[in-house]
Amino acid sequence: MKKSLRDFLGELETAGELRVIQNTVDVRDVSALISQSKRALMFNSLSDYPGWRLCGGLLSTRKRLALAMGSSENEVAMRFEEGLGRAVDPVMVSEAPCQEVVRLGSDVDLAAIPYPLMHVLDGGPYISGTMVTSKDPEFGRNVGSYRLMYRTPTETGIDLVSPSDMRFYYQRRLDKGQSLDIAVAIGVHPYEMLAASFKAPIDSDEYAIAGGLHGEPIPLVKCKTVDLEVPADAEIVLEGEIIPIGWTADEGPFGEFSQISGDVKWNPIFRVKCITHRKDPILYFLQMPWENDWLCAPVTEAAGLLALRAASVKPVAIRAPVGSCGYWTLIASIRKRPGEGKNAVLALLSVSEVKLAIVTDEDINIHDPDDLDWALTFRVQADRDVIVVDGARGKHVDPSIRAWELGKGGLPTTAKLGIDATIPEGIPKKFYKRLRYYGEDRVKLEDFR
């Protein structure tokens, strides 16, 4: 049976990576408590929310992400890419844990959900770590992840500033003066969140990608009020519509995945018509920025691997460092043939909003910053091995692109930098012979006391 969020919580606990708090906690304090914990946290008792639990910080380290993916820390990208390559179509079920409780009409009350307040400068309480499903009559189903800022018991802001398939779907409905139905699943297994975060081609089904990661189909259930499907084992589902007002409602600031507080943005409003959840729901609190960044990393890395393979370059290892929020930088080592250092750089720069790409030979351990620095020092000549591309697609949360100068709904551009840190063509490899210590194969320190 496919793993759920609860299965992952069990795995974390078994591995000593989850701390369960039994004391009653005020929801306003959970963010600060999660930020102080080296382990993921589960709050079993919340003030004013009887029957609810809340968990957070589940993926705040690469170690815990690797645990979710059943791989080593350095191999999560390969594991993710493997799943992408074997999509498994979802299956429909008629009954689902996520619909054990159904709230309609005057029972719809977002204040009855332990809606957390994360950061000091946030424009309101936020739910992130969502899996949002929408449909377009021509392009079909889409699933992505979008944050929701609490506005009223029946409305949230929804961040649709960045280019995405759902933004495209919403724009098409908006052009006709119509709303876009969506369903928001909260509390799913990390594989579903990874699939939702992946920028899949518009004709791909993210549920099939999640199925590929699990190695079995995702059970889906029909929503109660909209013609959409959601993972049956989710904890909570919000059904409703993004109303046709365009980018006119204030939303944010929010502690962004860029690790800085964002700006007030102008976004549409999500009107909630139905809330369904389990009888004993667990609200998943995705702690920004770390959980988002560690979730981003394998998605960016897998996109980099696909881009390299499409460019007929053989990748050996790839890394999207957390210092770049797992998003803006890609570092790869390759098994190089002449000219492929540059090809690889260009391929990596084509990935989403990646703005720094570094490519090394396979003898460099890209997970070791010192080894990477060594390659950058001795294999790079700035006039030959550095590529700058101007005017590529950017992302609002990067302050260096001055997004505040754009009008409402405007899209930013960015410059991109690529560095080919492979051994330059024409320089014999003998000039890069590493030092070896005399007798290192003959004597071992552990044999001596």
């Binding site: 306003r28 004013d48 977002l110 204040a111 809606y115 307040l117 950061h119 000091v120 946030d122 018991p153």
Partner: protein, 63 residues
Amino acid sequence: MTGMTALAQQIMRAVRDRPQQFSEAVDAHRDVPWPQFLRAWGEVRALNRLERDEDGRYHLKDV
């Protein structure tokens, strides 16, 4: 402000008197249960009179 709860009126007066971050409004009402505060905030929001300054602080639009 007819029909608004006393708490919503209190929040609205505070925002009218001085622009403030959402967290400042929360700090001023830590004694109020969180769901109750959220519902009252929703009442203020529903008036469509909240505006934002460049630092994200809420203030009340004049009518």
